[in-house]
Symmetry: C2
Subunit: 588 residues, 2 copies
C-alpha cells in the first residue's frame, strides 16, 4: 500500500472555448499542486466542453483541440506543474481516419489524455458510446478499443470515460482483469431528478466489481438544455463513500488514498494484449514512486445531499445562469402576468443573475384582472427587479382594425402582441427574453406560437405545473428560513391558473385539473405507457383520450419552443422527438 | 432459368397511418396481381411510414404495427390475393426484448416481412443501421443478424433493407455467398441533389458484387423535411439497367425477369448457418414453381432522367404538397413582398396545391417601394392566387408609440408585425403559413425571429439564393415551353434583393454578393472545410471571417426556423446541429 493524494476538479467548461477551458484547467492544477496532489483529474471533454455536437465533425475544430492539448501540456510544465499527472478529457481523432460510410467524418474520438513533464504521455478514448436520451455519440465518435492503465506514484490507475462505467463489461471488466489499484472515471454526466442516487449506487457497485477504489469526477454547469450537476465522488474497493463533492457548484475534491502498488503484472500483460471484452491493454509508466504526501492528511469531506426540491431548483438556477452568461448576455427580460409560472421564473432568474439584472414587463389587456396586475407588481417588488407596464390595447386594436380577428385568432393575437413587445424591448435594450411556459402546458400545446413561446430560453420548460407550485412553496419557505422576503406572492400560488385571453377564462376550461393531467402525462410521456394501460390504471377513458390527442398533435409547437433546462428523463426537445407529420393517434 | 413477373410498388405512405398505408398496399397488390405479377415489393417501413422517430420507442405503436401486418396478410388472402408473395417493410420488435441500457426500449426493429397465403411466412430485420445525416437508427432499432432468402416461383430471393445495400459486406456479401438468384432491396431513401446518379452506380455495383440481378424499390413522398424520390429500378447481374421508375410520383414498376432457379444449395446451408460477415441464413420456401407469366411480355420501361433543376423543383413541390395534405391543411398563406423568394415560394405552392388554394398577402410599410407592391400584385395575378393588401403602418405605429423602438429593433418590429398578421389570418381562416427564407439568409442569420421566420413550413429553406434565381428562371422557361404564363415576374428575378426594412436598404449592405456568399457557404457548411483552407482557396480573408462569424452565431435562429424540404447533404435543422451555447469561432 502507498498513500497518494489525488484531486478531482469539478469544473464548468464552456463549449468551444478552448483557451478559456485550458486556463481553467491550468488554474485548478496549480491549486491542486499547491495542496500537494500528485494527480488531478478533470471531466470528460473538459478542454472542449460537452457536448460539442456537430463541431466534432469539423476537422478544424478537432485539430484545434489537439493543438490546445499539446499547448496545455507545455504550459503546465513551463509553470512548474510538470510533475503533476493531469488527466483531461478532450476531442481527438483516430490515428487512421480514412473516410468510411457510416463512420463520422474525420474519425473523432471522445478522448482522455494524461499530461506529465510537459508532454502528452498517454491517450485513450471512450469505449462505450451512448446513443440514447440526450446522447448521440454514435453520430460523433469512433469508439476506443483499449484500456489505458497509467502508473502514477507506483499505483496502477485504469482510466474510463463516462458511459464506460454505466455499461456492463468493457473497461470495468478489463480493469478487474488487469488488477488495477484504482479506477478513475471522468464524466460529463447530465442532471436528472434523483440521478445522484442512481449514480452513487452505480459507482459503489462498479468499485466492487472492479475490486478497487473508484474515483469519479463530473463536470458541473449548464450547456443549452443540459445541466451537469457535479457530485464527484470517491469510494473504496468495498463501495464505501470516502469523499463526495456538492452538486451545482465548483469544487476541488482532494483526498488521500491508500492504494496497492504495482498490481498490474507486466509479465502477464504487454501492450496490445486483450485483457477482457476485446479491449487491449495499454500500460504507461508515469511515476514509479509516490511523491511524499505533505502533512497534515486531508480530512475526508462528504457534501450533504440536497432535497429533491432543492436539487431541481438548483439545476434550474444553474442552467439559466450559464445560458445567460455563456451566450454573452448580462440581463433577462420576461413578461409578468401575475401568475405562478412567471413569478417562479422571475425568482429563478433573480437567483441566477441577480434581481437587478431581471427586467419584468406587465402587459395587461382588457381581459386582465386587477389581481393579476397587483400580483405582477408584487412579484417585481419582492424580487427587486426592474418593472414596467405596457398595456397592449393600442397594438391589439390596430390589428383588429386591420384584420378583424375573432375567437381563438383574437386570443392568440394578444399573446403575440406580448411576444412582439418583449422582443422589441430585447432588441432595443439587449436583454435575453425568457419564456415562462411549463411542461404540462407544452405537452398539451396550451401555448401560442410566437406569443408566450417567444424567447431565447425557457427556464421551467421541463417542470410540470404541480412541481411549479411545489418549487414556489419551497423557494418561499427557503426565504423564510433565511429570514428573507419570500419572492413569490402567496396569491400567485393559491389562485386558479388562467391565461386571461378572454373574459373569465381559466385553464380548467381547456385542461383537466393539473394533478390529474400531470399524472397522465407522467405515464404517457415520461414512462411511454400506452393508452390502454393508462385507462386500465383507473383513469377515465374520455379524459385519457382527450389528453393523449392533445399531446399527439402538439409536436410542432413543442419544437418551436425555446430550449430550457432538462430535469426529467424525457424532456421535450432534447430527448423526445416525434414526427410532425404523423397520423398516429394513440387516444381513441 | 425461369421467368418471373415482379412488381416494385413505389408508394407514398403516411407516417403513423397504419390503416391508410395497409389500404394502399392492398390496392397496389390488387393492381399488380391483375397484371400477372407473382411478387410485389413495397418500400422500407411502408406499413408505418418512415421515419417514425420516437414512435419506435412506444410499445403500443410497435404492437399496432405488428397487428396491422397480420391483418394485412389475412385481408390479402380474403380478397383472393393470397397467392401473390407480398414483401412489405414494417416496424417489428425482437423476440427477446429484455430492457438493456443503451438498447432502444422494447427492442424495435426496422423489419421486412413476406406475406403469402394469408400468413406472414417470413420476417427479417435491417442489418446495417445508419446513424449519420438524417438517420438516427442506432437510437431506434436493434440490428438484424440474418440474411432472409425466400424461394418464390423457384427463384431464391435475398431481401435486404436500404442501408444494407450502401455498406460494404453484410447482406450483399451474404447474398453472393449464398448464391441467390435475385437480390431485392426495399428502401425509404431520401432525396438529395444528384442522389439518383449515386444510387444508380451503387445498385449496378452491388448487382455485380452479388452476382445476381438486383431489384430496388423506393418510397416517394414528403415527410417533414425529407422527400423520398422514388427512382425504383432493376438491373441484371452485370449491372445493366432493365427498368427504372420516375422520380417524385407513384409508379408500379412491373418487369419480367429471367432468373436462375434454386441456386441456393440446401445441402450446404441450413437455418442458422453463418453465411458471411456473421450473418446467418434463413431460407423460406414460398412457392417452388413459377406461376405462368401471362402474355404478352411486359415491355421494359425506363423513365427519362430529370435535369438537376427539374429534380430540385420536383422535390420542393412534392415536399410541400405532402406536408400540407398529410397535416390536414387545404390551403397555404404567405407574405408577398415582390421579391424573388416569395415569388418562387408562391409558384411552388401553386404547383403543389393549386393556385386557388394559395393566399398571398402584401404587407407594405412606409419603406416599401412602388415596384415591390407592383411585383407582388403581378406575382399574384400570374399565379392566380387569392391576393390582398394589409398595410402595416397602423400596427407598427402603435408599437412605436408604446415602446419607442429605433434602429434594428424597429426593423425587426416590421418583420414581426408581418409575422403576427400572417398568423392572425392563418388562425382565422385555417391556412398553413409558409415562411419564404432561403438557405443563404438562414446560414447568416439574416432573418427576424418571429418575423419572416413565422410559419409551419419553409419550402426553400434548403435552397441557396443563387439556386433560387436559377429555379425561378427554369420555372419560367418551363411555362414558356408549355405555352403557359410564366409565374414569376422578370422584375423580381432581375432587381437587387432588399429586405426594405429601412430607406434604400439592399441585401448587399449586410451581405457580400450572393455568388460569392454561396460559394463560401458551400465550402464551410456543405463540405465542412475549415477557415484556413477556404482562405487558401483564394477568398479574401476578412470576407471569409465575416461570413463564418455570421454562420457560427446564427444557430439559435436557424433552429427556430420552420422545417423545410431538404435537398442538400447538409440541410439546416435535420442534418447539422451545433450547440447554441458555443464559444468556438472559426473565423479569425
Amino acid at each position: 500500500m502507498t498513500r497518494i493524494r489525488i484531486a478531482l476538479s469539478q469544473i464548468n467548461p464552456t463549449v468551444g472555448d478552448l483557451d478559456g477551458n485550458a486556463e481553467l484547467i491550468l488554474g485548478r492544477t496549480r491549486q491542486a499542486a499547491g495542496r500537494g496532489a500528485s494527480l488531478v483529474a478533470f471531466p470528460e471533454m473538459a478542454l472542449t466542453g460537452y457536448p460539442v455536437e456537430d463541431l466534432a465533425l469539423r476537422s478544424s475544430f478537432v485539430q484545434a483541440s489537439r493543438l490546445a492539448l499539446e499547448a496545455l501540456a507545455a504550459r503546465l510544465a513551463a509553470e512548474g506543474l510538470g510533475e503533476v499527472a493531469v488527466v483531461v478529457g478532450h476531442l481527438d481523432r483516430c490515428g487512421v481516419s480514412t473516410p468510411r460510410l457510416g463512420r463520422p467524418a474525420g474519425a473523432p474520438q471522445n478522448a482522455v489524455a494524461v499530461l506529465h513533464g510537459g508532454r502528452i504521455v498517454a491517450r485513450s478514448a471512450k469505449h462505450h458510446l451512448p446513443n440514447y436520451g440526450v446522447f448521440d455519440e454514435y453520430r460523433y465518435f469512433v469508439p476506443g478499443d483499449r484500456l489505458l492503465v497509467v502508473r502514477v506514484g507506483g499505483v496502477d490507475i485504469a482510466i474510463a470515460v463516462c458511459e464506460d462505467l454505466w455499461q456492463e463489461g468493457g473497461p470495468v471488466a478489463a480493469a478487474r482483469a488487469a488488477r488495477v489499484g484504482l479506477l478513475l472515471s471522468i464524466n460529463a454526466s447530465p442532471y436528472e431528478v434523483s440521478k445522484d442516487d442512481s449514480r452513487l449506487e452505480l459507482v459503489r457497485r462498479r468499485a466492487r466489481e472492479a475490486e478497487c477504489a473508484l474515483a469519479y469526477v463530473n463536470a458541473f454547469g449548464g450547456q443549452d438544455e443540459l445541466v451537469f450537476d457535479g457530485d464527484s465522488l470517491i469510494v473504496d474497493a468495498e463501495g464505501r463513500v470516502l469523499s463526495r463533492a456538492a452538486q451545482f457548484r465548483e469544487e476541488l475534491l482532494i483526498a488521500d488514498l491508500d492504494l496497492p502498488e504495482r498490481t498490474v503484472d507486466d509479465s502477464v500483460y504487454s501492450a496490445g494484449d486483450v485483457v477482457a471484452d476485446g479491449l487491449t491493454i495499454q500500460q504507461v509508466i508515469v511515476t514509479e514512486h509516490a511523491a511524499p504526501v505533505p502533512a497534515p492528511a486531508v480530512e475526508p469531506s462528504i457534501a450533504p445531499a440536497l432535497s429533491d426540491d432543492a436539487e431541481i431548483y438548483g439545476a434550474l438556477v444553474l442552467g439559466l445562469r450559464d445560458y445567460v452568461a455563456k451566450n454573452g448576455f448580462q440581463s433577462v427580460l420576461l413578461g409578468l402576468s401575475g401568475g405562478i409560472d412567471s413569478a417562479l421564473v422571475a425568482a429563478i432568474a433573480a437567483d441566477a443573475v441577480g434581481g437587478a439584472n431581471v427586467y419584468g414587463v406587465s402587459m395587461p389587456s382588457s381581459y386582465s384582472s386587477e389581481h393579476s396586475k397587483d400580483d405582477a407588481a408584487d412579484t417585481a417588488e419582492r424580487i427587486g427587479l426592474d418593472y414596467r407596464q405596457v398595456p397592449i390595447a393600442p397594438m391589439v386594436d390596430a390589428y383588429l382594425g386591420a384584420l378583424g380577428l375573432t375567437g381563438l385568432a383574437e386570443e392568440n393575437l394578444q399573446a403575440r402582441v406580448r411576444g412582439t413587445t418583449l422582443m422589441g424591448l430585447s432588441n432595443q435594450e439587449g436583454h435575453l427574453v425568457l419564456a415562462t411556459g411549463n411542461k404540462s402546458e407544452l405537452a398539451c400545446g396550451y401555448s401560442t406560437l410566437y406569443g408566450d413561446a417567444v424567447g431565447g430560453f425557457a427556464p421551467i420548460k421541463d417542470v410540470p405545473k404541480t412541481v411549479v407550485w411545489r418549487l414556489s412553496r419551497w423557494r418561499n419557505a427557503e426565504a423564510e428560513r433565511r429570514g428573507e422576503v419570500a419572492p413569490i406572492p402567496v396569491n400567485s400560488i393559491t389562485k386558479p391558473p388562467s391565461a386571461e385571453l378572454r373574459p373569465g377564462q381559466v385553464d380548467s376550461d381547456s385542461l383537466p385539473p393539473y394533478e390529474l393531467l400531470d399524472d397522465i402525462l407522467d405515464d404517457y410521456v415520461e414512462r411511454d405507457i400506452g393508452r390502454d394501460a393508462i385507462v386500465a390504471a383507473g383513469f377515465e377513458p374520455a379524459m385519457v383520450d382527450r389528453i393523449l390527442k392533445l399531446v399527439d398533435t402538439a409536436e410542432y409547437k413543442r419544437r418551436q419552443y425555446p430550449p430550457g433546462t432538462k430535469i426529467s428523463l424525457k424532456a421535450f426537445g432534447r430527448d423526445r422527438r416525434l414526427p410532425i407529420t404523423n397520423r398516429w393517434r394513440e387516444g381513441g
